[in-house]
């Protein structure tokens, strides 16, 4: 079981050059759970994630890990506790799966130490969890999108961190692979207790797979908690400006958002929606 950590954001304001994107966010990442940061485009989800993982220095406030501001930790020390899969990492030309996954071991290696048995074990285990052991000697260029994403996650797993951040791990994937990736991440969370924090675009998949949701609007945290508490027609309207009905997903009982739109709406629904939104 992974160690419990307290990862906390205190009054974080963050952004780029003169543009503040995140306006004062306080939050605590729930340990051993899957959290999803949700919000409309350009609401500051990725910026918040980058600030929590030391990619971006906050303009104000701080992100702390077990009480220490993360930029005061040794980068390698932090990288052994907190892993990150960015949205679009670069695939070096001609790299094989095993080589790529092995690069996740960097924070565990000393300057002169070289490769150890621990490293081999971690890489084999990571490839096993993500079902890519058979692909070990294949070049990444030859793989499908879903396979590639599994390899990248295996790279992050080889890092053996207690906390794993993923920035839109399912973007550009077919629905089948989206579900596959989220299932694998859930396995990981349940078997090892890895704390997972991700930015996801799809509200319904977020509702289904998250234990905890952070809802962001224009750089402010407007709601957080259990998906069934956070994903309501009111909050969806507030975040995305979308009129919708929220029902229970028949498979999982998680909330399921059904957008209304202007066309193909049954007449009685039209009336009900105008009543309910008043």
């Amino acid at each position: 079981m992974k160690t419990t950590h307290l990862l906390e954001a205190e009054q974080i304001k963050s952004g780029y050059e003169n543009k503040t994107v995140v306006h004062g966010v306080d939050l605590i990442i729930p340990s051993h759970k899957i959290s999803v940061i949700m919000g409309a485009n350009a609401c500051g989800k990725s910026t918040l994630l980058k600030t929590l993982t030391r990619l971006l220095k906050p303009l104000y406030g701080k992100a702390t890990l077990d009480g220490t501001p993360i930029d005061q930790l040794q980068p390698k020390q932090l990288a052994r506790i907190l892993g990150l899969l960015p949205q679009s990492p670069i695939v070096p030309e001609g790299i094989t799966v095993a080589d790529l996954v092995g690069r996740g071991r960097f924070p565990h290696q000393s300057l002169l130490g070289g490769w150890t048995k621990e490293d081999t074990k971690a890489v084999a285990e990571a490839m096993d969890i993500m079902n890519v052991t058979e692909l070990a000697n294949r070049p990444i260029d030859e793989l499908s999108g879903g396979q590639r994403q599994r390899v990248w996650i295996a790279m992050a797993l080889a890092q053996q961190t207690d906390i794993l951040f993923l920035d839109e791990p399912t973007t550009f994937l077919d629905i089948t692979y989206q579900v596959e990736i989220l299932d694998l991440l859930t396995d990981l969370n349940q078997q090892y207790g890895t704390t997972i924090v991700m930015v996801l675009h799809d509200i319904n998949l977020s509702a289904r797979y998250a234990d905890y949701i952070f809802a962001l609007k224009q750089g402010k945290l407007i709601a957080e908690g259990d998906p069934s508490d956070v994903i309501t027609s009111g909050i969806v309207k507030e975040i995305f400006g979308l009129d919708c009905t929220v029902i229970k997903d028949p498979i999982s009982d998680a909330p399921l958002v059904i957008p209304k739109g202007r066309h193909h709406v049954k007449n009685e629904m039209r009336i009900r929606s105008s009543i309910s939104s008043e």
């Binding site: 990619l55 990150l84 960015p86 790299i95 095993a98 996740g104 084999a124 790279m155």
Partner: protein, 346 residues
Amino acid sequence: MSNVTILKNKQNKPYVPSNLTIVLIFSLLMLGLCVIGSLALGSRVVTMDGLIDGLFHQQVQSYEADVVRKRISRTVFSLLCGAALGVAGALMQAVTRNPIADPSILGVNMGASLFVVCGMAFWHITTAGQYIWLALAGAAVTAVFVFGIGSMGRGGATPIKLVLAGAATSAALSSLVTAIMIPRSTVMDQFRFWQVGSVGSGTWSSISLFLPFLIIGILIAVLSAPALNALALGDEAANGLGVRTGTLRFAAAMAGVLLCGAATALAGPIGFVGLLSTHVIRLLLGPDVRYIIPLSAIAGAIILTVSDITGRLIGSPGELEVGVVTAFIGAPILIILAMKSKVRSL
């Protein structure tokens, strides 16, 4: 059987390039042949007996043996210079994540040239020991300048922007060099020979001057290789793995500048060696920087020495400077690489 193989593979490092042994043996063999070729071939071709006398029988005094002895320092110098340029190319490609980075393409060599010619013209310096510091300063300033210009605007230091910045800087610097040189005929003579790039001037004293830079540069390169491997996955991923990307870029770029600056000071600007050696090795072994760096050193040594031998044979009874030969081989290969679509990014 297959189970045993899988188990065995699991015990080993999972990603040693599969053909590492073959490539290593083949390149060492080539290196040996280069050494023999460089000692024996030239405007005067030496026989086997002469070669052996020159190398192992110090008491034998024959013309052939003397020729061989004279060629020893030149050969050693060309091997070391080639290694330095090979590693410098590998470092610059890794730092910029750009497969067509090379000291000559990025204008770093020309920056070193400008500083050296300024030294010749304004301070009347004449010795290699003085060239070397000027060349290093020129290389460093140009590297910072070109990377600075190349990373302006959207998308950071993309391959195409860096190459454009390098080419423009190179052209500007080379016209400055000419402008300084033309009114000064003595400087012109002194500079002309230096500028084409030659390893013929390699003496034991220039080798001993060169060695400390080579050792420090290669040491930094080898130590930063694992972090450069992480950097190859992008800045964000590298940060996530605990790499201090700024520090790493600075250290590795400075090691590259040290290597190519010192080589340029002593042999003149020699282009394309770093580009070529790194490409050949990456093609053979894949993208792992920990293997690319040492093998690029060997490949660079081979390429420069073969070019030197070629120059001696073509230019006989005089010789064609090695810088001309590498440019002749390198330019078409650069064009081919630039046309490949995958060249966009590493």
